[in-house]
């Protein structure tokens, strides 16, 4: 038998190399990275994420080169219509038929909470960028999702604390009568009372409400220093517009909007919103890096990005970079590997992913500019202070998440 040791050795080496190569290939499920984008594409929350968020996601995929580890990146999207049922059914379909690797977007907190349950059941991975409820990484935490941009904890902690420190001691709360509003109201009440303030009265208004004049009149009658708006979207816009018509600010009261997006301020105009304090996770004009990215985004959409849209780009990039580095798109491995990499880009400063899935990063206290101060259509905020990542979010010592060892 003319068997040659050298041939054997080289055959084994060749076989091993082939195996290894195919091994890497096998790590990328179905030879594609499949990202599903789920958001409100047509309703109240459309403009803060919606089609603009999908555009940010596509931009990240394009900037990454359209493929990772030699396999293409495929993006698809669906409208959840702010319904937890529709959202959950869509994602269930994505698991059954589309082999989705990453679910991105997600705006209404109720939708996100429903989807995270599915992510856990199907061993998937999701990054939530649009939702507010801090419970998403507290009592509803799973090892299968990450919450990226902001939540109700820093909103209360940033805005309410700053307002009380500036002398706004007595508060009248105007709260959207559903889970998100109640959560925000609770967080705000805690912060106001801890800092020596007082809640004099609370009104819970139906969601959504068209006419706020009656509530604003009641708030005026209360004599409180501050009217706190624990609502979002069109409710906040309506409340602020009405307050302006009824001369709330001239009457010596101040409004504190607790969840306000760039598109809300843009819609209302500076005349009605000037001087408003708010907490944001990011602002397009906050520094050179942010401006540079935003101008590229503006060229594609003709709108400046909200913090959610920027966060979608940032989180998608972080995901793709992790996949490239780890050589796999296995959800569990990627979730762990993502947490090992610090998040430091045009969006997040001092960012990292905690074991509860919360991506903590610096937050900012901003004030809406007056029409005289503003130099352009989108020149809307003046960043007044940075809230360091460590202080901004709910400390792990207070966490109710099962993944945190308390």
């Amino acid at each position: 038998m003319t068997f040659n040791k050298k041939t054997l050795a080289s055959s084994i080496a060749l076989a091993a190399a082939t195996l290894m190569a195919s091994g890497v290939q096998a790590q990328m499920s179905d030879d594609e990275v499949r990202i599903g984008y789920l958001a409100d594409m047509s309703g109240t929350y459309r403009d803060l994420a919606g089609p603009g968020g999908l555009e940010a996601l596509m931009m990240a995929v394009e900037d990454f080169g359209g493929e990772v580890n030699g396999v293409p990146i495929d993006v698809f999207s669906a409208d959840d219509r702010n319904s937890a049922d529709v959202g959950a059914n869509t994602v269930r379909g994505w698991f059954d038929e589309e082999n989705v690797d990453l679910v991105a977007g997600m705006v209404a907190s109720s939708v996100s909470i429903a989807v995270t349950k599915l992510l856990e059941e199907n061993d998937g991975l999701g990054i939530i960028s649009g939702s507010a409820a801090s419970s998403i990484t507290n009592e509803h935490c799973t090892p299968n999702h990450i919450h990226w941009v902001y939540d109700t904890y820093p909103l209360a902690n940033g805005t309410a604390k700053a307002v009380v420190e500036q002398g706004g001691k007595t508060w009248f709360m105007l709260t959207a009568d559903y889970a998100f509003g109640h959560a925000l109201e609770g967080d705000v009440t805690k912060v106001v009372e801890e800092n020596g303030g007082e809640i004099v009265d609370t009104i819970r208004h139906p969601f959504p409400t068209n006419d706020f004049s009656s509530y604003i009149l009641q708030a005026q009658g209360s004599g409180a220093d501050i009217i706190g708006l624990a609502n979002a979207g069109s409710d906040t816009v309506n409340a602020i517009t009405t307050a302006s018509q009824f001369g709330v600010v001239q009457g010596g009261q101040q409004l504190a909007g607790l969840l306000i997006f760039l598109n809300d301020v843009h819609a209302m105009g500076l005349e009605d919103t000037q001087g408003l304090l708010l907490t944001t996770g990011w602002y397009w004009d906050m520094d050179d890096q942010a401006r540079e990215w935003s101008e590229r985004y503006y060229e594609r959409t003709e709108r400046m990005p909200t913090m959610v849209q920027a966060g979608i780009y940032s989180s998608t990039m972080h995901y793709l970079e992790t996949v490239a580095e780890a050589g796999t798109d296995d959800p569990e491995t990627i979730r762990a590997a993502m947490a090992e990499r610090p998040v430091e880009d045009f969006f997040a400063r001092n960012g990292y992913i905690r074991e509860d899935g919360r991506m903590v990063h610096d937050m900012y206290l901003a004030q809406v500019k007056s029409p005289e101060e503003s130099t352009g259509e989108w020149d809307l905020y003046d960043i007044q202070a940075t809230i360091p990542a460590e202080e901004a979010y709910r400390p792990l010592s207070e966490s109710q998440c099962d993944l945190v060892n308390n």
Partner: protein
């Protein structure tokens, strides 16, 4: 201080005033619906979208053509009413002989198309429309600070409502209209152009919605979805008042505004539902509505 059920009199009066203003809005919108249903038997589900188109036309007219508020108040109802007449001529007329349900579905579909198209171009956040300079500021009524513009809305809406009621119930033209819908063959035999009358009536109902839209523009953010949230309430008002009753729509609109206003003080959580509770009660006790003719 005098108290009414635990609320200071001044606050109570203020809330009644605001309720009356909202009621005037409901009256104006439900009046258009009542005219269209009463005379044409069309359940106009596009009414909310037509109201929204009125507000949008005012906004775009200001931005692109420099049309001021007062011009818009006259021109926009004509333009949107004209669009309504076009819809009646080209679409509604073709299904006039079918069950009401088809008209409802058609107008609902149109509403979705108008809304979807505008969402595509303008998003949902909406834009603000400046208050006309002549109506800026406010009046101190002693018990409340009332923005001048809201006082104007109340007056304008009431004048238009009463004018419409007068035309339909007290003039010869109104008599033709009512007769034409009652027995169109006979009216045509008398030489009255009934199809034209119907087109004009639909156009008029739509123009009322657009007028309400222009009135609303400086009050609420102008957005493509502003009509759909209001439409359901307005339909409830029409049902309570009695489908097709002109005076019923006006009086019910005003009183529902008041009831809603008081709910916002005593139990705000129910403010969005109270009108529907009244509707259920009315349907149970008087199915044809408060002012409807017994079926």
């Amino acid at each position: 201080m005098t108290m009414i059920f635990g609320v200071p009199l001044a606050v109570f009066m203020g809330q009644l005033m605001l309720g009356l203003i909202n009621g005037a809005f409901y009256a104006l919108l439900s009046l258009g619906l009542a005219v269209i249903f009463g005379l044409l038997k069309i359940v106009n589900f596009a009414h909310g979208a037509q109201y929204m188109l009125g507000a949008f036309a005012a906004l775009l007219g200001l931005q692109y053509l420099g049309l001021n508020y007062w011009v818009a108040l006259l021109v926009v109802p004509l333009v949107v009413g004209g669009l309504g007449m076009l819809i009646e001529r080209t679409l509604l007329r073709r299904i006039a002989h079918l069950d009401h349900l088809y008209g409802l579905l058609l107008t609902f579909g149109l509403a979705l198309i108008f809304e979807g198209t505008l969402i595509n171009f303008f998003g949902v956040s909406g834009s603000s429309y400046p208050t006309p300079t002549a109506l800026e500021g406010g009046l101190n009524l002693g018990f409340m600070f009332l923005p001048t513009y809201r006082a104007w809305v109340l007056v304008a809406a009431l004048v238009v409502c009463l004018g419409t009621w007068f035309i339909i119930e007290r003039t010869r033209l109104g008599a033709y209209l009512r007769a034409g819908t009652e027995n169109s063959a006979l009216m045509q035999a008398f030489g009255v152009n009934v199809p034209l009358l119907i087109t004009l009536t639909y156009g008029f109902g739509v123009a009322l919605a657009a007028f309400a839209g222009v009135l609303a523009a400086p009050l609420y953010p102008v957005s493509p979805t502003m009509g759909s949230s209001l439409l359901i309430v307005v339909f409830a008002v029409v049902v309570i008042g009695g489908m097709g009753s002109i005076l019923g729509a006006i009086l019910t609109g005003l009183s529902m505004g008041l009831i809603e206003g008081l709910t916002k003080v005593y139990y705000p959580e129910a403010a969005n539902t109270v009108i529907f509770l009244v509707m259920i009660l009315v349907l149970l006790l008087r199915p044809s509505g408060l002012f409807g003719k017994e079926a």
